[in-house]
């Protein structure tokens, strides 16, 4: 097992560097002059010669005159030392810029993921057990609709319904501006603001997972060991949760772990619509503003998360299913 993990880690490092090279080269070949962006405003305020000096200083600082391999080595060296670079939009270190958005994204995603799993797993199991009942059919219809409608539309419809018409939730933001409360009051305020985006994220993710769990459970319930368990006179609850669900979990586990790993990744659309100061929105702004240090840092974070997520998923197979032994 340890040998397997070590092998996978080596493989992950390789993939990380390959991805980093590709991303770095791509970002650095996007048209545009970041140095010029930085000093643009000094045009006309200083002499042309002085402007050229400032422009050159900016180029030197960003290392734009170095060959790409040299720039890559410098960037990667800094990255490995924890220096994520300098934001040309915010004029401060990337680490400072993305810290708060990353925290926000993790908070929201943890709640949304737990909420979604808490709903979809029991719902999927129930639908599988009560297959083709009226309830099941209704859930199938709703989940297919939910699965098909883009989250952007769900968000706008919910804003209109819950904020504009019913006035239950605020339209956007993460807390009341100038909110003075602390402790429980702060928590209530924060949840009040996050209620709608959480609702949207949860509803948007119900369809897929519910159907997946249902399908996995239906397969499991067809198995001989389930029939055997029932023949042995075990309680239905034990049959469903101890026998069927444990086996159904095998095919769902990838999805569940993927969800948990994605708590670090922001949803650009939800964060944009609800103006949530999250990492997805920050990534989007970085790309739009040619702030490539931000975009690259977040991109590499995504890369690391994906690699770890894959490893954890593979390892979890062995834990969930005793038949699977990961040792090669």
């Amino acid at each position: 097992m340890l040998k397997y993990i070590a092998k996978r880690l080596v493989y992950m490092v390789g993939v990380f560097f390959v991805v980093s090279v590709i991303m770095f080269v791509l970002f650095n070949n996007v048209p545009g002059d970041r140095a010029l962006n930085q000093v643009q405003n000094m045009r006309g305020k200083v002499s042309n010669e002085r402007f050229q000096e400032m422009y050159q200083q900016a180029r030197d600082k960003l290392g734009l005159d170095d060959p790409i391999p040299v720039r890559y080595v410098k960037w990667m060296g800094n990255l490995l030392r924890g220096d994520l670079g300098y934001s040309t939009i915010y004029k401060k270190d990337v680490k400072e810029v993305i810290a708060e958005p990353l925290r926000n994204t993790i908070l929201i995603n943890i709640i949304a993921t737990v909420l979604a799993l808490a709903i979809t797993i029991p719902l999927g199991i129930f639908c599988a057990v009560k297959k083709f009942s009226k309830f099941d059919n209704a859930v199938q219809v709703f989940t297919i609709v939910g699965y098909s409608v883009p989250i952007y539309i769900i968000a706008l419809v919910f804003i209109y319904l819950f904020s504009v018409k019913l006035g239950i939730f605020p339209i956007s933001g993460m807390n009341t501006p100038n909110f003075q409360g602390t402790g429980f009051a702060f928590l209530v305020d924060r949840l009040y603001y996050l209620g709608l985006p959480l609702l949207v994220m949860t509803v948007a993710s119900l369809g897929g997972m519910t159907r997946y769990v249902r399908a996995a459970m239906i397969d499991a319930l067809r198995m001989d060991y389930v029939r055997t368990a029932r023949a042995k006179g075990l309680k239905e609850k034990v049959v469903i949760y101890s026998h069927a669900w444990r086996n159904a979990l095998l095919s769902v586990i990838t999805l569940i772990i993927g969800w948990f790993m994605s708590i670090f990744m922001g949803s650009i659309i939800v964060e944009q619509v609800f103006q949530i100061n999250g990492i997805g929105l920050m990534y989007y702004k970085g790309l739009l503003g040619q702030d490539y240090d931000i975009a690259l840092a977040i991109q590499m974070l995504y890369c690391v998360i994906t690699l770890i997520s894959n490893l954890v998923t593979d390892l979890s197979y062995g834990i969930v299913d005793p038949r699977v032994r990961i040792n090669k």
Binding site: P31, N41, Q57, I159, I171, M174, P177
Partner: protein
């Protein structure tokens, strides 16, 4: 708070209901917490628990709080020297005051008597002019510390220093007037550590000297508008200003390394404020500044202090702008210029509970040309584009009737427009006319086919240049994506059959705003693009000379040759009118506008009629359009 609990309950019910939910009972009982120890409800919505009443027209103002929604995203970087978002700048203007000179409601620059005890204007032998200010005793920052002449001198020295502008990268803006002062360039470029045109005379007296090359100047006082900045907030205690014969300077320990940490920390937390409001906090998660009334602010040039205790300036996305107002998330949205939103806002007002004001925008949306290369280097081509675009229809469609078409770089709020109404009326409106477009092109020599033969009437026109080569009438246009104005230009100009029939072709390239800015500022003849669309505002002072200075990087349209020199001379002549001579200034201004109208370096598309929509509980809100934002209007406003 009640709302919050209800909404939380809804989430809870949804969670619990659905989680448990696989079908059993769906939360038959509501865990209804009507309990509500709502200690803080800082929202200023319907449920204010104040004592005021409207009975018998008696309005009592609570003036507790106002939330202003701004469509430009706030960044938290409130000082405009590193990043310069419009919303950040509005907040900055509210916390910055005690200027020696301010703009009055008519857009004129006046001495601020709350600050200036005495001012001496001295004409020097070399043609320069010195303003010596003595400031009033007892001026204080928001923290109670005294404001002295050193703080005014500091503001000039600090924000124009090579250390701050270059080393600390505070290059988004500079201390606005230093470029006009004697020794400004040498100081900024680091060639001199003293600022020759700035002197610290005593604790309450300082002077600034405007270079002779910039005088006379119609907006003279604007050049000597200085605000104070607290030296020991921005710099370590051991940094000081010393006066020398050659001007004021910092002590030798004023280096980027020494001041860097202090500057970086104070940049985001400028709590020592000179304006009507003081910085309280920035909430990145709410995209909101909280500013509270500065008790030590003596008033603006009229002695007006703020009425409202707390101003929250909050970013609101354009998509949900009116919904935010309607639901009370904000009390006000300002400077709305797009027709659809204005119409929706007016519907909201009609439904009751909301009000609005309107004022002309000091600027316009436009197409800008590069006049030094490609077909657009020829005036006739630029004029032809004007004739081929139905600007009246364009403005009508884009602003839904809430805007006008102007024929030069002016805004309807400018007093010069009223003074010269007849001359403005007589400007060439370039009304839609493909025939006139063809006529000006033919007159300019666009009469050939690709092979040099006479133009056949079909396809692209060519012109024979002085070097014998043929230039096709193909204009390269760079625009940004997701831009409704660009989309309208595509349909009304680029794909207009009359454009092709006139022998002209416009190629569109779409890219990011950053790319657009880069090409827009590129005045070299290698720039692959000659046409851009964006919007611009007119500053106050209306000083456009630098925009036409031959060879200057600020000469964006790159008008060159005799035409460029001619319009530059007219722009300079405008500035050189003696302060106070409104008649002469008006005439110089009109001459400039007429020449501009003839050369058309830009195509004015629309000048919006801005609308501010607000809750009816807001009173005395008035914007003049001169300030380009609401920072001065908020001083006079009251809240029920």
């Amino acid at each position: 708070m009640k709302k919050k609990l209800v909404s939380l309950l809804l989430v809870g019910v949804l969670t619990a209901g659905l989680a448990a939910g696989c079908g059993t009972k769906e939360g038959e009982e509501n865990p209804n917490n009507n309990d509500n120890n709502n200690t803080e409800s800082s929202e200023s919505n319907e449920s204010n628990d104040n004592t005021e009443s409207n009975d018998d027209e008696q309005i009592t103002y609570s003036n507790k709080q106002i939330i202003i929604g701004d469509i430009t995203e706030t960044s938290g970087d409130i000082t405009p020297y590193w990043t310069n978002n419009a919303s950040d700048y509005s907040a900055f203007k509210m916390i910055t005051g005690l200027g020696t000179v301010e703009v009055d409601r008519d857009g004129k620059w006046v001495y601020n008597e709350q600050v200036v005890k005495d001012v001496q204007e001295t004409e020097n032998e070399d043609g320069s002019k010195t303003w010596t200010y003595t400031i009033n005793d007892g001026l204080k920052y928001s923290d109670g510390s005294a404001v002295t002449a050193k703080d005014y001198v500091f503001q000039l020295l600090f924000w124009y220093s090579n250390e701050v502008v270059t080393d600390l990268e505070a290059s988004e803006a500079t201390a606005s007037n230093c470029q006009y002062y004697v020794g400004g360039d040498a100081y900024l470029n680091g060639e001199s550590d003293t600022f020759e045109g700035v002197h610290l005379i005593d604790e309450m007296t300082f002077s600034v000297t405007v270079d002779a090359a910039n005088l006379p100047y119609y907006y003279g006082k604007a050049l000597v508008s200085v605000t104070p900045d607290p030296i020991h907030s921005w710099c370590p205690e051991d940094v000081d200003i010393v006066e020398t014969e050659d001007g004021a300077k910092f002590t030798d320990n004023f280096t980027a390394e020494h001041i860097g940490d202090t500057v970086e920390a104070y940049r985001y937390n400028p709590t020592v404020c000179s304006g009507p409001y003081m910085f309280t906090s920035y909430d990145a998660n709410a995209y909101a500044y909280t500013l509270t009334k500065n008790p030590n602010f003596p008033g603006n040039y009229e002695g007006q202090t703020a009425n409202i205790e707390t101003v929250i300036l909050k970013y609101v996305a354009e998509d949900t702008l009116l919904d935010q107002l309607k639901t009370g998330a904000v009390d006000m949205i300002t400077a709305i210029g797009t027709g659809d939103t204005i119409e929706a806002g007016l519907d909201l007002v009609a439904d009751g509970g909301f009000d609005y004001i309107t004022y002309p925008r000091a600027g316009y949306g436009m197409i800008s040309f590069k006049c030094n290369q490609g077909p657009t280097q020829f005036t006739a081509v630029r004029q032809a584009v004007m004739y081929l675009l139905d600007r009246n229809a364009f403005a009508q469609n884009f602003t839904a009737g809430h805007g006008v078409v102007v024929h030069g770089p002016y805004g309807l709020q400018q007093w010069m427009v009223n003074e010269h109404a007849e001359d403005i009326e007589a400007l060439n409106a370039y009304n839609y006319s493909p025939e006139n477009a063809v006529a000006v092109l033919e007159e300019d020599g666009w009469v050939l086919n690709e092979d040099g033969s006479d133009y056949s009437g079909e396809g692209i026109r060519y012109k024979k240049l002085d070097d014998g080569t043929l230039m096709p009438l193909i204009i390269e246009w760079f625009s940004t994506d997701n831009n409704s104005v660009s989309d309208m230009i595509v349909t009304t100009l680029q794909q207009n059959p009359d454009v092709a029939a006139a022998g002209m072709q416009i190629n569109q390239t779409v890219g990011s705003f950053n790319d657009l800015i880069q090409y827009y500022y590129d005045n070299t003849t290698e720039n692959p693009y000659q046409m851009f669309n964006l919007a611009t505002g007119f500053g106050n002072p209306y000083d456009v000379a630098y925009s036409f200075e031959p060879g200057s990087a600020s000469n964006i349209t790159a008008l060159v040759g005799d035409e460029g020199q001619e319009i530059y001379d007219l722009a300079v002549a405008m500035n050189r009118v003696e302060e106070g001579d409104d008649t002469a200034y008006g005439e110089a201004w009109m001459a400039f506008i007429q020449k501009w109208n003839e050369l058309v370096p830009e195509v004015p598309l629309y000048s919006n009629e801005f609308h501010d929509f607000f809750s009816s509980k807001i009173h005395d809100w008035d914007e003049d359009g001169y300030n380009n934002d609401y920072s001065s209007a908020v001083l006079y406003a009251n809240v029920e």
